[in-house]
């Protein structure tokens, strides 16, 4: 038993729903108790789908358990077929139905439906959402791909043709990534045979073999299916996920080699602004910003590369909740000399972030909350999805436009941080101090009567200090160390500290106290302050 306060991924049948909902003409009959229909709202409320997901739930109750749940399943499947007339059905069990072992696949076979029925075995007590999506997609491809449909060898001058694999319903920016990459491939004079699962029908899956190669956008979803297609049809698979400018260039070269086209014309993209923006002098302040990266494997590996190579940040930690891809993430971590955190307990992630004290967190919506609590800027780079991850505007992560989006998304929270410092700086001024009433109220009313007694000079530091205190507390909890005593500050050292610009003062205080602790110094003197400065500047 695992104590779980919050989970990054849903159960595997939600992954199956993501495939069914992405496709056309597929219906999913799910053997499940009342309540499991909650999953519908993920699609109708987070993704704002105008249609219900194509899923029928059997809704068995306690009183059915003694009776015939199998019959209930058969009726539901028959009714679903008659009402929705899908081209193919998938059938399976949610966690509870798995325990009663009704064998939906076998039961459905007995119905002799006139369409292909793909049975799913998704072990709910072992696996999670992304695996469920990958397995479902693989099973659909295996059952529906016509192995007699094969791409004839290409004649010279004939355009290459590929499949795009991976985009699903409820995917993190899949909608816009797909548009971006489709555009890129079209620009390279490559034809798209089938895009799947998003928008594909069972008939489309049947013609998967009629392509020269496969483009895998999301390995979490499509790598098992792509592996089977490679073995069956000999279709090579792309290995680079085009997130970031560098990866997009690599992807273009990889695809160009597979398609036998010249990559140069598409590599020269006037709208690829991110590489120039990060070379612009105003980006100098981004140098060596310490970042922590967490999310699904694909987005984490890509984000770490962008952070280090394209933004000039320092990756101080990275991790993933995708255990299936732990190896890939560990390998990536080695590139940055850090140890990967493979974990799906957000409290452990929080402890790691608190311990590392990064200046920017790139994570999921959960890390956004963690970062907010710790007072650290954050940008969201990965699922689990939130309604905010389905913006009305075009906002891909992939391709050159995706790189532009990432530049903006990551830099904005850092700029916001700077603006907060500016507010803090002016807060020390005579007409803009903490006790001054807002100017739009005339500025004459003093707020000191309400009980604000903090001297104006110190108030600039307050947000930072509060955040630090909170973070320190979190570290203390994480390390469960009770013996660490913070050294006291001598009056002259404290005075000197106040001369340090406020926006680095919190950090200077932290570093000095850390140094004093390491050196076992009970009192921080002027000397200690500068010793610490020298120590940390090495």
């Amino acid at each position: 038993m695992q104590l779980t306060l919050w989970t990054y991924e849903g159960p595997p049948h939600v992954g199956a729903m993501r495939i069914a909902t992405a496709m056309e003409g597929v219906h999913y009959v799910l053997h499940a108790p009342q309540g499991d229909t909650y999953a519908d709202l993920l699609f109708t409320m987070i993704q704002r789908d105008a249609k219900r997901p194509p899923v029928t739930y059997t809704t068995f109750q306690a009183r059915d358990l003694g009776g015939d749940t199998a019959e209930l399943f058969k009726n539901a499947a028959r009714e679903a077929f008659e009402r929705f007339r899908p081209q193919a059905m998938i059938v399976g069990a949610s966690c509870t139905a798995e325990l009663i072992q009704d064998d939906p696949g076998g039961l459905c076979k007995a119905l002799n439906l006139p369409v292909p029925v793909v049975p799913l075995e998704l072990p709910s007590y072992q696996r999670k959402e992304n695996w469920g999506a990958a397995e479902t997609f693989y099973q659909l491809v295996r059952h529906l791909a016509d192995t007699s449909v094969r791409r004839a060898p290409r004649e010279s001058g004939q355009r290459a043709r590929c499949n795009i694999l991976g985009p699903t319903a409820l995917g993190f920016r899949h909608r816009d990534d797909l548009r971006e990459i489709t555009g890129l491939l079209t620009q390279m004079d490559i034809d798209i045979n089938v895009t799947a699962p998003q928008g594909a029908s069972p008939a489309d899956l049947a013609r998967l073999g009629d392509a020269d190669f496969n483009v895998v956008l999301y390995p979490e979803i499509a790598s098992i299916a792509a592996g089977w297609l490679k073995r069956t049809f000999g279709q090579p698979v792309t290995t680079v996920v085009p997130i970031g400018s560098g990866a997009t260039c690599d992807f273009i070269r990889e695809v160009a080699a597979l398609a036998g086209v010249d990559p140069e014309s598409v590599l020269d993209n006037p709208n690829a602004r991110a590489p120039w923006y990060s070379r612009s002098v105003d980006s100098t302040y981004l140098t060596s910003k310490r970042v922590f990266v967490f999310g699904d494997a694909t987005h984490v590996v890509a984000a770490a590369r962008i952070a280090q190579d394209e933004m000039g940040f320092t990756v101080v930690g990275l991790g993933t909740y995708s255990r299936e891809f732990a190896r890939e993430v560990r390998e990536a971590a080695q590139l940055y000399g850090v140890e990967a955190l493979i974990c799906d307990d957000y409290l452990d992630v929080e402890a790691r972030i608190a311990e590392l004290q990064p200046e920017l967190v790139l994570g999921t919506q959960m890390e956004r909350h963690i970062a907010k609590r710790l007072g650290i800027p954050c940008a969201v780079i990965s699922a689990p999805v939130h309604v905010q991850d389905f913006p009305a505007r075009y906002s891909p992560q992939m391709g050159f436009e995706g790189a532009n989006v990432l530049f903006d998304t990551w830099v904005h929270p850092l700029m916001m941080g700077l603006e907060e410092h500016l507010i803090g700086m002016f807060r020390g001024d005579a007409e803009f101090h903490e006790d001054a009433a807002p100017s739009h109220l005339g500025g004459s009313v003093s707020r000191s009567a309400v009980g604000a007694t903090q001297p104006a000079e110190d108030s600039a530091e307050v947000p930072d200090e509060a955040a630090t205190a909170q973070a320190d507390q979190a570290i203390a909890v994480a390390a469960s160390s009770s013996a660490q005593v913070v050294a006291t500050w001598s009056a002259d050292a404290e005075k000197e500290l106040k001369k340090i610009p406020f926006f680095v003062r919190g950090k200077a205080r932290r570093n000095t106290e850390h140094y004093a602790r390491d050196q076992g110094l009970p009192v921080i003197t002027l000397e200690t302050l500068y010793d610490a400065k020298a120590h940390h500047s090495r």
Partner: protein, 446 residues
């Protein structure tokens, strides 16, 4: 002589009306969802679901949990090892609970909440609760109930939770004077309003159950007169009656009429005289009535269709039809408790179509045929119905928003008028052709 507003039963009413009972796919939450409001109400209680990843995912999806640093609910996720018998489920549960309580010393009441998987594998949570309770008392009381979807629908989770808490209520003294207890979770603000009304009537010590803190459990005994604040508390009522308490039959406190009748039931049972009652309730009543006038302009004559959700549907339908002049096309409810709802049914207009349970596809067909002006439904159905051109009201908001009592009567009406007003306001704006196509496709696909 009673000067209180006489309640006019609807002509005929629905007391003996036929009910369409359906079986099929249910588009409703399971009882685990009740944890979302129960943990806010009982501020030192923790809810530990013993279940699967689906349970954890359900609660966080329904609650939008990410806002909480460390919520007072969690799931002990059963894994393969537990099922294969490699790990003793009870030992595992003890380990999880011990770790949890060590981390959260402020917790005084722990509920082990059964789920579909724990029920199916017949994990005996009542024994586990006893065992853990004896280990952690007096600091922490450990109780159990089932919020599983195979046994409970949405708000029934609260019923199961409160019923499990009833045996822990201290017994009232044998010679105790009659005492009033309000049963069912109400928002704190609503509770405070009722407290003020009751004390103005001279009823000083009205108990609310569940209490805000685990150590303030009200006593119960033959002197207890209890008033249900929610229509879904069947098992809790049975448990209270087993302790000797007497139920005061009344409509539920939704709208002016319902609130007045509900308060009247308490006043009558507790011997409050009619003048006093009138004096205390009149100002709030008049204020609420005048606030409803504006809402009535929006809502009168509009047709409303209820998909089953929280069991609040019948009292809501009564309020909307009698105080706002809405027309009821179908009132669906997951479960109809004829006895507790008898005063409500008597007030519904005769001929109202009532349905219990659900076959969602058939019900959608009926809804499309009825073409109501507004549909009350769950979040899974709302946007698809909007895309088909219906105006919808999310049923779940009716559970999470304070809607009971005089001061909330107009707020409650506004929950229904706002979607109608919204459609009216934005429907005049031209839409790009693409939106028209999206909407048409959704109708074709439905």
């Amino acid at each position: 002589m009673n000067t209180v507003i006489p309640i006019q039963p609807a002509v005929g009413g629905c007391t003996d009306a036929p009910v369409l009972r359906e079986r099929g796919q249910r588009e409703v939450f399971c009882g685990l969802t009740g944890i979302i409001w129960l943990h806010r109400k009982i501020q030192d209680a923790f809810f530990l679901v013993v279940g699967s990843r689906t349970c954890a995912h359900l609660i966080q999806s329904a609650a939008g949990v990410m806002i909480f640093a460390e919520p007072r609910f969690a799931t002990a996720i059963i894994d393969e090892r537990d099922l294969a018998g490699l790990a003793d489920c009870n030992e595992e549960l003890d380990r999880v609970v011990t770790r949890l309580l060590a981390r959260r010393p402020e917790i005084k009441l722990l509920f082990l909440v059964g789920s579909c998987p724990s029920e199916v594998i017949k994990l005996d949570l009542s024994r586990a609760a006893q065992r853990l309770s004896s280990q952690f008392m007096p600091n922490v009381r450990v109780l159990n109930y089932s919020g599983s979807g195979i046994e409970t629908t949405f708000t029934q989770g609260e019923d199961a939770c409160l019923a499990s808490l009833v045996p822990s209520l201290p017994p009232a003294k044998a010679d105790a004077a009659p005492a009033l207890m309000v049963v069912g979770t109400l928002a704190d603000v609503v509770e405070d309003q009722f407290t003020r009304l009751f004390s103005a009537m001279g009823l000083g010590s009205v108990a609310f159950f569940p209490p805000r803190h685990a150590d303030r459990l009200p006593s119960v005994g033959p002197n207890t007169r209890y008033l249900l604040a929610q229509p879904f508390l069947a098992d809790t009522a049975v448990a209270l009656e087993a302790r000797g308490a007497h139920r005061l039959s009344a409509p539920f406190p939704l709208g002016v009429e319902g609130t007045t009748a509900w308060l009247q039931a308490a006043a009558t049972a507790m011997g409050v005289n009619a003048d006093r009652f009138e004096q205390v309730t009149a100002p709030a009543r008049r204020r609420a009535e005048s606030a409803l006038v504006r809402q009535r302009v929006q809502l009168a004559g509009k047709q409303i269709f209820f998909f089953p959700d929280s069991q609040l549907e019948i009292p809501l339908a009564r309020f909307l039809s009698r105080e706002l002049g809405m027309l009821l096309t179908e009132v669906g409810t997951p479960y109809l408790h004829k006895q507790h709802l008898a005063p409500e049914l008597a007030l519904l207009p005769a001929g109202t179509v009532l349905s219990e349970g659900q076959h969602v596809e058939n019900q959608l067909d009926r809804c499309r045929a009825a073409q109501p002006d507004i549909v009350v439904c769950g979040l899974g159905l709302a946007n698809p119905l909007e895309a088909e051109g219906f105006t919808t009201k999310w049923a779940i908001e009716l559970v999470f928003t304070p809607i009971q009592g005089y001061e909330q009567a107009a707020d409650l009406a506004e929950l229904f008028s706002r979607p109608l007003l919204r459609r009216q306001k934005i429907n005049n704006a031209p839409v790009p052709l693409a939106l028209g196509k999206t909407l048409a496709a959704s109708v074709a696909g439905a």
